[in-house]
Amino acid sequence: MNSIQTNEENKTSLFRFVVALADDSVILSHRLSEWCSNGPYLEEDIALANIALDYIGRARMFYQYAAEVEGENRSEDDLAYLRTEREFTNLIIHELPIGDFAFTMVRQFFLDVFYHLYLQELVKSKDQTVAAIAQKAIKETRYHLKRSEPWIRQLAEGTTESRDRILLAIDELKEVVGELFDMPSWEIELVEAGIAVDRQSLKPAWDKHVQAFLSASDIDFEDTRLQITGGREGIHSEHLGHLLSDMQYLQKTYPGMKW
């Protein structure tokens, strides 16, 4: 099924759905790329740049499709570079500053487990383009997870300092993981149409995976009731505006030019 021919309302929902997935990817890619020449090993500089590249690839595919769905002659770059922080709808976990290596790896672990579950469902989307992008992305995510898990294990069981840093990162990040499973109204509509994934339904599997993995390192992972949300509505942390002023610098300083 090609969903571009659906009615106006569906079209708006599909655009919001796809552009949000692009936003998630481009913002996480931006953060990961900040590790370039800052990693604890040269191998990590390379690996994190590689993962950043995977996410920028996803972002481009989703933005291109979002632009096509919208049909307003906007390009992938218009969507990435000319929207404001209130228009960006990425989930907040993607935008938080990189912190230390423990923070970056815990975020990566949480997201890798999430995307592993999410993409397995998204490949079944009735929207062929979305399914095809998910098909490509899932291969990358399997590899990402294979990398983030051993890192969490080593740091959690390495030294007192590394364990403390991991615990601190978990503590900070658990306030923003809940949003991964919150469903806005337009996504619920698309779930009914067989296009989107019910993220809420992934929560038990995510909890189980994360808890089992962490408990093997004697870490109790419990959900916190305090959850920071708002990303899909364009209500972000203070960090996103700074990220965008960096990312969009050239396009905004020299409007309308080709690069």
């Binding site: 020449s37 800052n38 604890p40 570079y81 990312m247």
Partner: protein, 320 residues
Amino acid sequence: MISMDTKTIDEAVELAKFEQKIANEEKIEPSDWMPEAYRKNVIRQMSQHAHSEIIGMQPEGNWITRAPTLRRKAVLLSKVQDEGGHGLYLYSATETLGITRSEMIEALQSRKAKYASIFNYPTLTWADIGAIGWLVDGAAIVNQISLQRTSYGPYARAMVRICKEESFHQRQGYEIMYELAHGTPVQKQMAQDAMNRFWWPSLMMFGPHDADSAHSGQSILWKVKRESNDFLRQKFIDQSVVQIEVLGLELPDPEIVWNEERGHYDSGPIDWDEFKRVINGGGPCNYQRIKHHKKAHQEGEWVREAVRAYRLKQQTKNVA
């Protein structure tokens, strides 16, 4: 006394074999006997090359988060990742000569080892990313193509592999410059300015004139270096002038003129005082580059410590 004489004789035989191999254009391999001075010479050159790849990630990394389009961002990320890969590959290849990566990093951080001096200049605008890809990688390729025939086997093989990727890097740099040079006046000015700033340091990348080059003589004899600094620099100037004409930019050196008799472009004098000053730590970013490298290294120490501790615990567990 007898043992010393035997040793001397053995060494003389080995040296003769070594020199014969060089004369026959055979590669020297890690397990082969080699004179200590050859080993040191190759370590110096290879580690300097590896450090250049790594330090070069800083000025280029400076624009990853600000690349103007998603495509440019992906290409730049991929390029910088390649440079990291080259550094890793070269560090490993250098380790075959009996030095560890941490010893090399220590030499870099204590300024005993050098890296390409051009990375001591800042990347001020997006056009600088174009100029680095086009001119700096371009100059590096001219040098590295000749090094595909270097006498040390692991280095020669590394160069074959690295040259392939570098030619992509040069093309992406030239493409950035082309787009800017054919863009708005402000973009064209950006391109001109970047080329003007990177032109002279690019020429300096080939090192001093042949007559003044400290390491050249022996390196050429041992076929570590295959072509002279001036020969390679001329080759670079000749190819670049044509490329500048295609861009439609003004030449960065008013003395560049075609010399029919030589069949080459003549060009103006290089400011060797600047070259020496920057090599000896007086460039705009020398301090910043090493400081950044040390800072990242220190900030990562707890991670490396954790990895060592974890491995030790696993080994103890396995033994028990």
